[in-house]
């Protein structure tokens, strides 16, 4: 298998994100941030992965992530996103959203700004516990957050108050949010609905609602295809990966039986969108590969750890060019690889950028793979 560096960090990792690369940079990412959960003292940390060829300062195992700095965080880290090269937005289980700044010169983290009660339950007196902020997405300078209170907030990085708040946008918990276009967002909730919200519209209603067929299984994660914006992938509580075409219909285009437990994150590779990555509570991380030259490879040459499965799409709508939506039988072959040989506890998070993959688990370890496509 490819080179994977592991490091045990004494905290359960809930989110890991690569720092975005500036502009048209060609080198691989070298810095990522992580957030912990379920600790009395949770931390947001920044790590660097050195050049794969050089030995560390004290002769440590090369490529092992080194802690640069960390800072205490109030509540579990529920979601995290880099706003720009220096600022990280973190969503907390206490309902607050914090912007941290990473100072490169002296390698420290400081809290830049905080929206204290971004998410809360309406009647403070009868409220039973706080409302966690479950998802955050950024498109500099705008930040959108969603939470267990069913509320959607639109913040601007430099403004104290929320630019727009949609109260009671959903009667159930909103689990994740992502941008569809600059003024539209996608949310998923715990009754199996995918909703599009348009901020240009004044009314507090979703522009469109999509539902799963069959059981209304909660959806936990959502991601949009980087170049073909009508293709959306979501992951559900039963581990099922659904691909939607939001231009047509209200039901998913394909349902792929994937994991055996909740799927926590789904990501299209930002520069190679034929590749999709999903991670789950069952401890596995799958790499879905629909690049077209796969069909030429004879299947018996695959080595251990990989399994080529012939997936029968339950397609509902005839569709177009993308491999994700096509139902051409010869091209139906999707190569799915489990990247974790000995799975134990849940893989909570993953992020992929260029040739690098980082993922974090409940076994208090971070794994970095810098040669994903080798």
């Amino acid at each position: 298998m490819e080179e994977v560096c592991a490091r045990f960090v004494s905290q359960k990792i809930s989110k890991a994100r690569w720092r975005p690369l500036p502009g048209a940079a060609l080198q691989p990412p070298d810095l990522f941030a992580t957030g912990s959960w379920d600790n009395e003292d949770n931390r947001v940390s920044v790590w660097s992965v050195g050049d794969a060829g050089s030995a560390g300062l004290n002769g440590e195992y090369q490529g092992e992530p080194q802690l640069l700095c960390d800072i205490r965080h109030d509540g579990d880290v529920m979601d995290m996103q880099f706003l720009d090269q220096e600022r990280i937005v973190v969503a907390s289980s206490t309902g607050s959203v914090t912007v941290f700044r990473h100072h490169q010169n002296n390698q420290t983290l400081s809290a830049n700004h905080r929206w204290e009660n971004a998410h809360y339950h309406a009647d403070q007196y009868t409220a039973c516990g706080g409302a966690a902020c479950t998802g955050v997405i950024c498109n500099n300078p705008e930040i959108v957050t969603v939470g267990e209170d069913g509320r959607i907030n639109l913040f601007r990085a430099d403004q104290k108050e929320a630019v727009r708040t949609i109260d009671n946008a959903d009667s159930s918990t909103l689990h994740a949010v992502t941008f569809l276009r600059t003024t539209e967002i996608l949310t998923v909730n715990s009754i199996g609905q995918l909703k599009i919200w348009d901020f240009r519209q004044q009314r507090n209603e979703p522009a469109q609602i999509f539902s799963l067929t069959g059981d209304r299984v909660p959806l936990h994660c959502v991601d949009r295809h980087p170049s073909q914006q009508h293709i959306v992938a979501t992951g559900g509580q039963d581990g099922m990966l659904s691909i939607w075409d939001i231009r047509q219909g209200t039901m998913p285009v394909s349902l792929l039986n994937a994991h055996e437990a909740e799927m926590w994150e789904v990501h299209f590779h930002p520069s190679n969108p034929d590749h999709l990555f999903t991670c789950s509570e069952d401890g596995s991380l799958w790499h879905w590969d629909t690049s077209t030259d796969v069909s030429e490879k004879p299947s018996f040459l695959h080595q251990g750890g990989r399994s080529t499965a012939y997936i029968s799409h339950s397609t509902i709508n005839q569709s177009v060019v993308s491999a994700w939506l096509s139902n051409d039988p010869t091209k139906d072959r999707m190569e799915i690889t489990n990247l974790i040989p000995n799975q134990t506890l849940s893989v909570n998070t993953l992020d992929v950028l260029g040739p690098c993959l980082v993922y974090g688990t409940d076994a208090e370890a971070i794994y970095v793979n810098r040669q994903l496509f080798a």
Binding site: A122, E148, D149, S171, T173, I191, R216, E281, S346, E364
Partner: protein, 617 residues
């Protein structure tokens, strides 16, 4: 915690306050809260689970190799943790923390020492011959001061003149590191040409010493006997008489106990003395013979002054092959169950522990694992590791898990989901229901009806779904419109979870049909809701009132049959009411009933005419 002692039957007038009351300070088990030790727990958890899951190799030798590898993995995890702890100790400025870390480092190193010995004697079960070699490695690995001394001597300008020079040579010889000893001695020979002749002989002897590696036991014994006699001859000839250092080395080579004992400070421990003694007098020692030499070595080394420490008793028990004693002593000496639990589990896999049952039914391995896992559950974060340990305790694991898992605090939905997944995977239906109920109730109180519904769907809890639907209906009655339409419109198959929920979905559908002006379908649906008894009785009045506008339409919607049905429903309703609420009749209620009767009658009239006309034409 305060303990009060009560006086039984106070006879005198002495006030009860003179009874001693003690205050106990309850302190959390510090070990599991140390950050560096968490790595130990997590990594060893991975090894533990791997061991339980890996398939048993058929061949005994392969199985043995497999288990030795597992043991080595555990040990490397301990060493890694020791390194980190050491780094932490060096880098901290707080002296209390520093001492805490240093204590931990010494505890960890003792643990590794014991584990290593157990691996050699029990897991690998080295036979005579290789046994001594393993013991030599073991000793070399754990006496660290040597390296510092060696470095000091070698880095000096004139090593052979260094005051520690002979110490280093001696320690090499005591540890059987012949090549290194010879290398150092050569420096002395170069510096001191007069002793060249002596050096050559000594060097030769050391080179020829047989170390049982490849030969059979008898071959080894033979060779060793010859060599021993040769050394004896040289000593008796007085070859080394002029150089006391070299003479003592030769005596050591001959296994002279007094000569070896002279180097007590270099060896520092009685088990080092034991191994050296064995190396030079009984290199083909059998495992079962170790106990005799061990006991005598300890007595000789410690002499009269000092009594054995806990570590010494544990190691002695190991040499005596008393497994249970080893485990017992370790449990007493160490502050948490990590070490004994994992070691016992490994030994159990080597099939070395007889399953003698403890008096409450489980065996020792299970007892220790249960204790360890229970300790993990008291930690706010490490509880997830405990689950796997309980899974591998066949007798009581499940019960323990059921009890512990309900008590984990659930402050976010995501944590609740993880706990639920653990319960579902193990078919713990009771716990699933109870957790879902807690979460649903919380959601309900926060007015998150959709969340509450999704929790009750997960638990397939019909009763709760009914509760939620009642809430919706209540809201509708109060406000005249539905809240959370996105939820009710998209119930899908979950509608069938409870009757009330089905009613809610269908009722909303009725409103939708009405809104789309599909009146006849709406009428049919409305009637069905009442006649099929899907609607609760309390709602019938509302339904009938909803029927009013349909009855008042210009176009006739309800057929005669349907109208008769409606009238029957109304009569059922009022008949029931009359008995109970004769004197509390609302004016509004009576008016409603009147209006309904009127509308129904009028509709009946129209529809009879209409139906009569059609039939005629």
């Amino acid at each position: 915690l305060i303990e009060r002692t009560y006086r039984n039957g106070a006879q005198s007038e002495v006030p009860a306050a003179t009874g001693a009351a003690c205050v106990f300070v309850v302190r959390r088990d510090q070990d599991i809260y140390m950050e560096t030790l968490r790595k130990l727990f997590n990594e060893s958890h991975g090894i533990f689970v791997g061991l339980q899951r890996c398939e048993e190799e058929r061949a005994a030798r392969a199985r043995n190799a497999q288990l030795v590898q597992v043991s080595k993995n555990y040990r490397s995890v301990i060493r890694a943790c020791m390194e980190d702890m050491h780094q932490a100790a060096i880098s901290t400025r707080d002296s209390a923390l520093h001492s805490q870390y240093s204590i931990q480092v010494s505890i960890l190193s003792a643990m590794e020492l014991i584990w290593n010995l157990c691996e050699i004697l029990f897991v690998e079960a080295a036979p005579a011959g290789p046994l001594l070699l393993r013991l030599l490695d073991w000793v070399q690995l754990h006496i660290c001061d040597v390296d510092n001394m060696v470095r000091e001597v070698l880095s000096s300008e004139n090593p052979s003149k260094h005051k520690l020079f002979w110490n280093v040579v001696d320690i090499f010889v005591l540890q059987g590191r012949m090549d290194e000893a010879r290398h150092l001695l050569s420096k002395e020979a170069i510096a001191n040409p007069t002793s060249m002749k002596m050096y050559k002989i000594l060097d030769d002897l050391m080179k020829k010493m047989p170390l049982g590696n490849t030969q059979t036991l008898t071959e080894m014994e033979l060779k060793w006997q010859h060599w021993h006699e040769e050394c004896q001859r040289y000593l008796q000839d007085g070859t080394f008489a002029s150089n006391s250092h070299m003479e003592s080395i030769c005596k050591i080579l001959l296994g002279d106990e007094n000569a070896i004992l002279e180097k007590k400070e270099l060896m520092t421990t009685w088990y080092h003395f034991l191994v050296t003694r064995l190396l030079y007098s009984h290199p083909t020692v059998k495992p079962m013979e170790l106990r005799f030499y061990a006991q005598s070595s300890m007595d000789m080394f410690l002499g009269e002054e000092s009594s054995p420490e806990p570590l010494d008793t544990i190691l002695m028990a190991a040499f005596e092959f008393e497994l249970h004693q080893v485990i017992k002593e370790c449990s007493v000496a160490l502050s948490n169950w990590w070490f004994v639990a994992h070691l016992t589990d490994l030994l159990d896999h080597c099939k070395l522990l007889q399953s003698h049952n403890l008096y409450f039914g489980s065996n020792m391995r299970e007892f220790l694992l249960l204790e360890y896992a229970s300790g993990l559950f008291s930690h706010h974060s490490l509880w997830q590791l405990g689950v796997d340990y309980f899974d591998h305790c066949p007798e009581y694991g499940r019960v323990y898990l059921e009890l512990h898992i309900e008590r984990i605090p659930l402050n976010t939905e995501q944590k609740a989901l993880k706990v639920l997944r653990i319960c579902e995977q193990r078919q713990m239906h009771e716990q699933v229901r109870s957790i879902c109920k807690i979460m649903a109730m919380k959601a309900l109180r926060n007015n998150r009806l959709g969340s509450a519904l999704s929790w009750s769907i997960r638990a397939k809890d019909a009763a709760f779904a009914t509760l939620i639907s009642d809430r919706f209906l209540k809201d509708y009655c109060e406000r005249g419109c539905f809240s959370d339409l996105d939820l009710i419109d998209n119930l899908g198959p979950s509608m069938l979870l409870s009757d009330r929920l089905t009613f809610l979905g269908k009722y909303r559908e009725f409103h939708r049909l009405y809104g789309e002006k599909r009146f006849s379908e709406a009428a049919r649906l409305l009637l069905m809701l009442m006649t099929a008894h899907i609607a609760p009785c309390s709602f019938w009045m509302t339904l009938l009132t909803d029927a009013l506008p349909l009855l008042e339409q210009k176009e006739v919607i309800f057929s005669a049959e349907q109208t008769y049905e409606l009238m029957r429903c109304l009569e059922d309703l009022t008949a029931g009411k009359l008995d109970r609420q004769k004197f509390q009749d609302d004016d509004v209620e009576t008016m409603k009933v009147e209006m309904l009767r009127l509308a129904l009658a009028r509709n009946l009239a129209r529809v009879i005419v209409k139906e009569g006309t059609l039939e005629g034409s």
